[in-house]
Amino acid sequence: MTGKKIILSAACLTGVLGSLLFFRQQFLELGRGKEASYETYEQHYVMITGETDSDFWNRIYESALEEGKKRGAYVEHFGEDLSVEYSRNELLRLAVQASVDGIIVPGDEDEETRELLKEAVEQGIPVINVLEDSTGSIRQCFVGNNGYNLGQDYGHQVLEILGEEGSKETDETAAGTTPVKVLVLVDDTQTDTNQNLILLGIRGTLENAGKSADEVLVQTCPVDNSRSFSSEESIRDIFLNLEKLPDILICLSAVHTRCAYQAAVDYNKVGNVQILGYYDSDVILEAVAKQILYSTIAPDTEQMGRLCVQALDEYVKTGYTNSYLAVDTRLIKTEEAERMVDGR
């Protein structure tokens, strides 16, 4: 047998074996299930969020999840995959009954919530309130905006608008015909002190600037949040009732901001009503860039999620954590919004 023949035979043999191996490899690749690839963690934390405003909460959740993975904990978005939409308190109870290692949940002033939080803590499950606090409960920590500071920021924005308009309409205001109406949209399901602190901040800022109630009238408008889609209807009502229509509308949640902005466009009130928004989703940023919204104040969602897990982890490991962690906010105006929209 010549060398050439040996090489040819070897090539044939290798080809056959190679193709068989290839076949086997393909088989094993296909047979391997997806569920096989997962990682395990030491702690099981759950995050329970509101039913609305998924984008906002998703951002916080993603950040919390990432931070949790760094710390050997898995943060579950509890109740998200269920076919039945459970209320926040129901989910809280289920989380306690499922014996998780830690709970992150937005608080409220509801007594039932306080009870559930107490139950959880008694069972050794640490609870962190995020964004909204449940004052008087025995939760381990509150991670959120400083309501009074937020209110001050809105107040400064109001003053800025008043300054601009004042220079335009000096005569009218000087004559004292009607005070400038500032309407703050508040969530009527949440008897949360945070909202009060915000109002306090706004009012305080205006008073400090020497604006009396005759000049600037700060009112609150409770938005019905009890049913699905009801908040949108409540906000539209404001725009439909021309007498109630404010000069400045302050929204304290991302959903309210979006509803107000859409209503202003639909009822052609852009310019008539200056809207101060909350949060920095793409839609809101675009609205700011188009000057439909005067400005928006965005909490640092990434920081919020991270701090929640940090506090939880700290408590689980050391038995101690800060009872309040402040999250930074950021004021976004037209120019910056334009830049951010272009950047994305």
Binding site: V16, L30, E35, T40, K69, E76, L82, A98, V100
Partner: protein, 511 residues
């Protein structure tokens, strides 16, 4: 290294075995080998595909077990309700049994914290189930203690949790169903893909087999082709081919061996034949040499016998003596004899002009007439312009001598010899005619073909035969000379006619 050696050894053994297989065995082995390869590959792929089909069947098994879980949960709930309703011992038994089953099923659920949604839900279900079973146990306990308010509240809680656990199971079931459906789709697609791949692999293996067959059959047919080529060469007369190499010991090998031997034998035979011929030729040559030497010896002998100078001087002395004694005729006779012999001695190896040849004939006829008292009537008819033509020496005298000896010597009538030289067309004709005994046709043929005994054509001792004359003429004129003997038969006289080309080429110097 050892493995390499092992492979090498087994390779050599295989090669050796292969070499000694017959053609039929080789072909059978080849087809068996390829068939076995294809069979093995097929079986292997079938086994894999079969395994995959098994996997497809198992796809929905997790849904089945979840359904079992929810059924067990139902039974716990029902048996609790039944017990709370009736407080019957059957219900109690049912409760314990179903609680046990549910516990076992729940224990199989995942306990790890993972980033896999479904596994995490399992963990939650496990936790919730723990709380639920506790609530149920408490409710049953309260019922036993007839604490109506408490078991009512506990039942409500347990019922709520039961619904919620079902929701979790339902959610997990959905998620698993979705996942399993995806897996199922992937598996189905994979199966189709596997079909394609298996066809591809089979095609590849087939190609490999074909090349294997081509390679192996080539090892069988190549020696045949070589053999055919070699046979073709031999058929065309070329026996000087190289010995064909024998690759294997099958039928082709045997034929090749035989062919090699055959060619070798033929070659040897031809060689032997050539050697025999050469030997014969050498023998003939030697014979010729012997004859030639004999002639040479004869000549040397004659030369030794007669010292020409002594003979000339003697004859001249005779001439002078005859002149002194006034015997003129004797003197003339002796002078003729002296001239005859001088010419003989001088011209033995050279050519001569026709004039000299005719003069020699004159001398010879004179001597003969003296010897036989003028019996011969000799006449000449010679074209004077042809007297300078060069011819081999000593060609006319032997012919005249023959004409005298065999033609007219023993006849009863008056003998006559005529010599004529003339030109006809581009040839010079020299004719010696006698009216003597004549020759039969057969005899003429014998003389011309040289089949006559040497003595008969030799004109006596020291004479030169017809054959010799013919040969020298042909040599001198490069086969362009003609030599004919014409006779009407017995007693009809004979004419010897020599024709030579009129325009002579440069003749050969030595004749």
């Amino acid at each position: 290294m050892n493995r390499k050696k092992l492979f090498g050894d087994s390779g050599i053994i295989l090669k050796r075995k292969w070499k000694y297989l017959t053609l039929q065995q080789k072909l059978t082995a080849l087809f068996l080998l390829t068939a076995v390869i294809i069979l093995i590959v097929n079986l292997y792929m079938f086994a894999l595909i079969n395994k995959m089909t098994g996997k497809v069947e198992e796809v929905y098994i997790s849904n089945v077990s979840l359904n079992e879980l929810s059924k067990a949960l139902d039974q716990v709930q029902n048996s609790m309700e039944e017990y709370l309703n009736t407080k019957s011992s059957d219900a109690m038994e049912d409760y314990y049994r179903s609680e046990q089953v549910y516990h076992e099923l729940v224990d199989r659920l995942n306990t790890q914290v993972t980033d896999n949604r479904m596994l995490l839900t399992e963990k939650n279900i496990r936790g919730l189930s723990g709380s639920y079973l506790e609530l149920v146990a408490q409710a049953i306990q309260a019922k036993r203690g007839r604490n109506v308010e408490k078991y009512g509240k506990l039942y409500e809680d347990a019922d709520m949790l039961y619904e919620e656990i079902l929701t979790f199971i339902y959610g997990l079931n959905n998620a698993q169903f979705e996942d399993n459906s995806q897996n199922y789709q992937v598996l189905l697609r994979s199966l189709r893909y596997m079909e394609l791949i298996s066809v591809g692999v089979l095609l590849f293996v087939l190609l490999g087999n074909i090349s294997l067959i081509i390679m192996s059959t080539r090892s069988v047919t190549r020696p045949l082709q070589q053999l055919a080529r070699a046979a073709d060469e031999v058929a065309n007369g070329n026996f000087e081919i190289e010995k064909l190499p024998v690759w294997s010991m099958d039928e082709v090998g045997t034929v090749t061996n035989t062919f090699n031997e055959m060619v070798e034998n033929i070659r040897n035979y031809i060689e032997q034949l050539r050697e025999t011929l050469e030997r014969e030729n050498r023998l003939k040559e030697r014979d010729l040499m012997v004859q030639s030497h004999l002639k040479d010896a004869q000549l040397k002998y004659l030369q030794a016998q007669i010292n020409p100078h002594f003979l000339f001087n003697t004859l001249n002395a005779g001439v002078q003596l005859a002149m002194m004694e006034a015997a003129d005729r004797t003197g003339q006779f002796l002078e003729n004899v002296a001239e005859f012999f001088r010419y003989n001695v001088q011209k033995n190896d050279e050519d001569a002009a026709l004039r000299e040849e005719i003069h020699l004939v004159d001398n010879y006829v004179y001597i003969l007439n003296v010897r036989f008292s003028g019996e011969i009537l000799f006449s000449k008819d010679v074209d004077e312009s042809l007297l300078n033509v060069r011819v081999p020496s000593m060609i006319l005298q032997p012919l005249v001598e023959n004409a005298f000896n065999y033609g007219i010597r023993n006849i009863n009538w008056k003998g006559r010899i005529e010599l004529s030289v003339y030109q006809k067309d581009r040839e010079i004709c020299i004719s010696i005619w006698d009216n003597g005994a004549g020759m039969e046709k057969k005899r003429i043929e014998q003389v011309l073909s040289g089949h006559v005994k040497e003595q008969e054509t030799t004109a006596g001792a020291g004479g030169i035969g017809i054959k010799n004359v013919m040969q020298r003429l042909q040599l001198y004129f490069h086969n362009q000379a003609g030599f004919r003997i014409l006779s009407e038969g017995k007693n009809a006289g004979t004419e010897v006619l020599i024709t030579v080309p009129a325009e002579q080429e440069e003749p050969s110097c030595i004749v």
